[in-house]
Symmetry: C2
Subunit: 496 residues, 2 copies
């Protein structure tokens, strides 16, 4: 079997793409010659002369939290740009083909997105996760959630089954539900050096699938790097095994990777105090060859993988900008869906991201240098949180354990003394109140299940995220409050 | 009967909104006290210190096409901002509650949008089209298409009927189709002083509706001001009659108004040559009380109207930003749908639009002053195109007629000699090839029908749009090419 077009949903296949401003589709009459300089009275597109914006200057920082550094040096009222002009000027018109000018960026554009940015995302993937086949493309989205909803629409018809990691980014269930599909949870192995998905469980499930009860699965949804919420990362060898199952049982893999570029070295003891010293730790080549975990794209040779990326975690969530790397036949039906449900991402966001990256940072490698600075800061934060936990009494007493993530934004804190409890979820809820009363909010595992009952016995953990904190103090203080709360709960007989 | 909640679709009603980061929903245990300074390890939101952008300067023009004026004055290589600093500085942090700073604008936000901009749209509607009831709200969208798709999803279940003007913005049919609804065309009266919809036809259709064939209509979709493609505008009196039908037959009115603010005075002869002289023609009070046609919102007293607006035509399409004014019960289900299908509009676009309007233009009235400048330029363009047609041989000979629009971007050019032709569409297609060979693209009426066969006898027209032209010359030249092509087609025995 070649290709995956038989796995595209009936609904997605049936959508037509046409527009009333398209020219005639019939053959022209005899003697017809196209005009050399045609003029437009057709499209309802305002000329860019109607746009109130003439140009935009985007003022950048050199590294994350630079503004706080400046602030600490008591230059409170000076913006970075005034001290250190590091700006991108976006003009109404430009002739540079790598840039998007405002006459284009503020205009209507095809839903796939602006060509320079599509091309950037394709070059970016070739550099980081080169697909193992040729017939792929990139299409821009309004972020990972939009990408996931579109992936579901492309593949899933009402009644279709999709396999989902039992603990997951639960908004995904809204997207599979929007397609009418049925999510089936896959067990996760929560031991510390796990790959996430419990491979034996998945193999047995597929081998013994009872098609009289449910149709065989059409897709697997996995957050394979820095899994949300558990933090696990699948090795290349592990991915090859999962991919073989996808081939044998003929299903699509939706690979959601919002922050996998934030690779995190194993905890080696208390991190260095000054995060700004960390920014040049790693060479780009070492990062690409030794740190970054390969994507399913690098195994896939038929277009069975839909990779969903986003600029939310590496640039900014408010852009509402991401992209999908997939087989061209899949991205075609996704384009048709985008013409119905949201008309693509903001051209302004595309323009700012594209021109910041291409005009200032230096394209793919320059962007990756920014990502390296991000990962250095995240790595420092992760180790700071782990240090706080490792040095706590609760850890010393064996009340908690942590999963040290290889990538991403999440640490899993396992509540060891609830491991075999007969009513884990009730206890976890009561413990959560204690944690909140100590002044820290965390996400309990049972909030992120596909099926609470199915996952009950593995729900004795909290997801901790070190991304939102304003500074080191908040991370350390959060870790202390959390472990103190757990200690008190335990010493109070596992009661509030 | 009060309220319209019985008209909300089953699908929309059934959607749940919840997030795994929500706090516990149960009662807290005895003795629980919330912490005074809680810290976050819950949300997966990157701190704004991770955003590479420190500030943005948006450089504005004073009036449409100002950059061309400057260009003509041979200041080619100077951007407007360098000559005339008229900029909005968007900071990482601000304390002004009317502005959106980058720490918020580039961050995740609720799908409804940022509060300052939602509030602006509400104040804008109160000033321009004050709703006639209290329980309404505004929700931001990614533009009018998104707004229309969301309106359909909110109201229409599979098999439901929606009434649609027979010539319309046909992408709407994708949106009604996405809800599984059945569009039924409503005849348009194409005589020159028409209100658009053929009221007698609609009344008879509703009176004699055969529910054994199709369920009674759930909604009417209308572009009531500057109708697309015909250009007609419904008077207030006419709207009251339509609204009465909506009440009597209990259906929703989806009022699509992408460019109704561009009010256009009747053609009074050749327009003044310099468009820049036109910008202060009208006072704001005269505009609001004498020029702007009231919306259905101003009649509606129960929340039966969903008004879909956009910033595409008045600010820029590439923002992908619009809003819906509707009953709160409708905007609530639209919010839940937005959590599934696109996660709302770009925060960057919201930030730029909000701060340009609130920080520089001066809020609602300042924004309306910009709209007045837009309408002056559009009015000049419309009259320039009409002048070219009126002065053409084709018009002199009675081969064509035009509908002079009261608002919007479209002029309808009726091909008079094809009025009673037995095969209008074939002739119009052949004529279109002639027009294209003369170097101008236009949209034939038959491309914008709900049902080609139903509207065949009224399809003898082209839609002309004066928005995309780069300058006056292109408008005049387009009009000449078009009327010359029609004349030649006619003189050639209605053949290419």
């Amino acid at each position: 079997m070649t290709g995956i077009s038989h796995l595209i949903s009936k609904r997605a296949k049936s959508r037509q793409s046409s527009h009333f401003t398209n020219g005639p589709s019939e053959q022209p009459p005899k003697g017809f010659k196209p005009h050399e300089k045609p003029l437009l009275l057709s499209y309802g597109t305002p000329n860019d002369g109607f746009f109130p914006i003439d140009s935009i200057d985007v003022n950048l920082v050199e590294y994350p939290f630079e503004h706080q550094q400046k602030f600490n040096n008591s230059m409170e009222n000076l913006s970075i740009s005034e001290k250190n002009p590091n700006s991108v000027h976006i003009e109404r018109h430009t002739k540079n083909p790598n840039l998007i000018d405002l006459s284009k960026g503020l205009q209507y554009v095809k839903v796939e997105g602006h060509d320079p940015l599509i091309e950037f995302t394709e070059n970016f993937i070739k550099r980081t996760h080169p697909p193992n086949y040729d017939n792929w493309s990139s299409i821009l989205t309004t972020g990972a959630s939009d990408g996931l909803n579109k992936a579901c629409d492309a593949i899933l018809d009402p009644g279709d089954v999709i396999l989902v990691e039992e603990f997951t980014f639960t908004p995904f269930l809204r997207f599979s539900d929007n397609s009418g599909a049925i999510p089936v949870p896959i067990k996760i192995d929560l031991s510390n050096d796990s790959n996430g998905i419990d491979l034996n469980y998945l193999e047995n499930l597929l081998k013994n699938w009872d098609t009289t009860k449910l149709p065989k699965p059409k897709a697997l949804y996995t957050i394979a790097t820095g899994q949300n919420p558990t933090g696990f990362t699948q090795t290349l060898e592990f991915r090859k095994k999962i991919y073989k199952l996808a081939t044998d049982y003929d299903f699509i893999i939706i690979e959601d990777d919002p922050y996998g570029y934030l690779t995190l070295p194993k905890y080696q003891g208390p991190p260095k105090k000054n995060q700004f010293e960390l920014k040049d730790q790693l060479t780009l080549e070492d990062y690409l060859t030794k740190h970054l975990t390969p994507s399913y794209l690098e195994i896939d040779d038929v277009g069975r993988v839909i990779r969903v990326e986003t600029f939310s975690k590496l640039f900014a969530p408010g852009l509402r900008l991401g992209f999908i790397i997939a087989d061209k036949s899949i991205n075609l039906v996704i384009k048709n869906y985008a013409e119905t449900v949201n008309r693509g991402s903001s051209g302004l966001a595309q323009t700012v991201v594209n021109n910041v990256i291409q005009d200032k940072l230096g394209g793919v490698d320059g962007w990756l240098q920014w990502v390296l600075k991000m990962r250095a800061t995240y790595s420092y934060r992760k180790d700071l949180l782990l240090q706080t936990i490792y040095e706590s009494k609760a850890y010393e007493k064996g009340l908690v354990d942590v999963i040290d993530p290889k990538a991403g934004m999440f640490v899993t804190l396992k509540i060891e003394f609830l491991k075999d409890d007969s009513d884990i979820i009730l206890k976890m809820k009561e413990l959560l109140w204690k944690v909140i009363s100590y002044g820290v909010s965390v996400v309990p595992g049972h909030n992120m299940t596909v099926d609470k009952e199915f996952s009950k016995s593995r729900s004795n953990f909290f997801r901790l995220c070190y991304a939102p904190a304003n500074n080191d103090y908040e991370i350390i203080e959060s870790g202390k409050r959390l472990t103190d709360a757990i200690l008190e709960f335990y010493e109070n007989g596992e009661k509030f």
